[in-house]
């Protein structure tokens, strides 16, 4: 593997899972994850994440959706930046709408479909067009904000708030990038919008 290949691999993994080391799925206790839909166990918190049902047991009501994802389920794609809803690094979709998972209590997400960066690629592992666009346009540097940026960008296009670069900047303003990759981020979103028009 050349250095360049290694770099590409890392960048791809950042866009795909929000982590540069794809070891995390191994630590999810297999018993907790199940695709079968069953009635919630009395008192237990049950979340539907990326199409998979997870029983989190008697979760402390203080647990945010972000902490449930990261600390209880090993889904560390969504990042904890400010933990106050100001940076957007923790953006996920709940019932198809982008929200900040750091200000969402896990129990508020019960019975709703949660999608994280780990759930946007196809089942065969083909990147989501937005993930690919972020790679094509070098829309990241350190990569920490990238999972939140991509989740927000996917929603931004779906909402119809990505018709112009000005629109994109306005409706992506809840995702901060301290590396300043904004030019690439806007270009990546424009590419996905153009692909949508072409298809």
């Amino acid at each position: 593997m050349t250095d360049k290949d290694h770099l590409e691999l890392n960048r791809r993994e950042v866009a795909a899972t929000g982590t540069a080391a794809a070891i995390l799925p191994a630590i999810i206790p297999a018993a907790l994850a199940s695709t079968a839909v069953a009635a919630p166990t009395d008192g237990n918190v049950v979340l539907q994440i990326n199409g998979v049902r997870h029983d989190l047991g008697r979760l402390d009501p203080r647990t945010t959706l972000l902490d449930a994802l990261r600390e209880h389920l090993g889904l560390s794609g969504a990042k904890k930046g400010c933990d106050h809803g100001q940076c957007g690094a923790c953006t996920v979709h709940v019932d198809g709408r982008r929200v900040v998972s750091c200000l969402t209590l896990a129990r508020q997400a019960e019975g709703r479909a949660v999608t994280t960066i780990e759930g946007v690629a196809s089942a065969e592992g083909r990147l989501h067009p937005m993930q690919q666009a972020f790679l094509d346009h070098d829309a990241l540097q350190c990569g920490y904000c990238t999972p939140g940026q991509i989740m927000s960008a996917i929603a931004c296009v779906k909402e119809g708030h990505a018709h112009t670069a000005e629109d994109i900047r306005e409706y992506m303003s809840g995702n901060l990038c301290r590396c300043g990759a904004y030019v690439g981020i806007v270009a990546a979103i424009e590419q996905v919008v153009a692909q949508g028009r072409a298809s």
């Binding site: 402390d60 106050h84 200000l103 508020q108």
Partner: protein
Amino acid sequence: MNPFDYTVAPSVDAALAALGRSGRPPRILAGGTTLVDLMRLNVEQPASIVDINRIPGLDHIDTQNADALVFGALARMSDVADNPVVRRDYPVLSEALWRAASQQLRNMASLGGNLLQRTRCAYFRDRQYPCNKREPGSGCSALDGINRSHAILGASDQCIAVYPGDLAIALVALDAAIDVRNPSGARSLKVADLHHEPGQTPDRETALAPDELILRIRVPKSRLGKASTYLKIRDRESYAFAVASAAVALDLDGDVVRDARIAVGGLATRPWRAQAAERSLVGKVFNAAAAAEAGRLALQGAVTRPQNAFRVDLGANTVAEALKIARGRA
């Protein structure tokens, strides 16, 4: 974050029953964008919270009612901002909503909760500092502290914290009202009467009792909606609180002003309707000089401190500019 009991209310009656129980009243959880944030800072320390998000029908948006736009308390800011009738006929409302926060927060935050958003005063949010709003009698750190963004209208010697919301500014301009339920009945009040000035009791922020629940917001339909705007001046172009803002609406007969509404935000301790400024326009020909005079009148009575004195002119210019934008939409 302190531990708390968490209850999901399946209905308004269930929520009211939970609120009416004896002991320290629970806090209501809607979008959570203010409450969860402040709980993490230990500024809010409820022993229990009642999640009202599962109450069916409380998120309705009705623009077809003949007399009023009706928004359920749980209607989300993003949905109302993007509503086609609101955008077309009441741009001041749509703009006040989409120029607030970020799209993620607007997807979460409810209209009812947004009205009750608590101040962003940095001293209120930081328990290291005395704050009369957080801890009555402890003092106000902002009076001689960093107060560039603090209130120049409606403040007192106990508190100069700004009311941070945008929607309420537009609602006050449009004479909106809220319908409220409590364990013993129901009542309605004007949004203009919802927020208190701090006076000697800055901890008492609104006219609502702890056991009252906002059910809906009603905005009377009027000809004032179309020629309206919410102009928000910020330190950055997007996703920031107002340094100064103005909600204005005009009803014009040619160049003559039949009716005018002006409220300012980001400058006052509560949503601030500027009726003297409105009166100065009514019956007169609208022009740049009239707009400037209305701006000056809107900031009448401002009390400044060295760091925030610039916001008198900024506020007056914001009102004048907003009036010109609204005029362009007539």
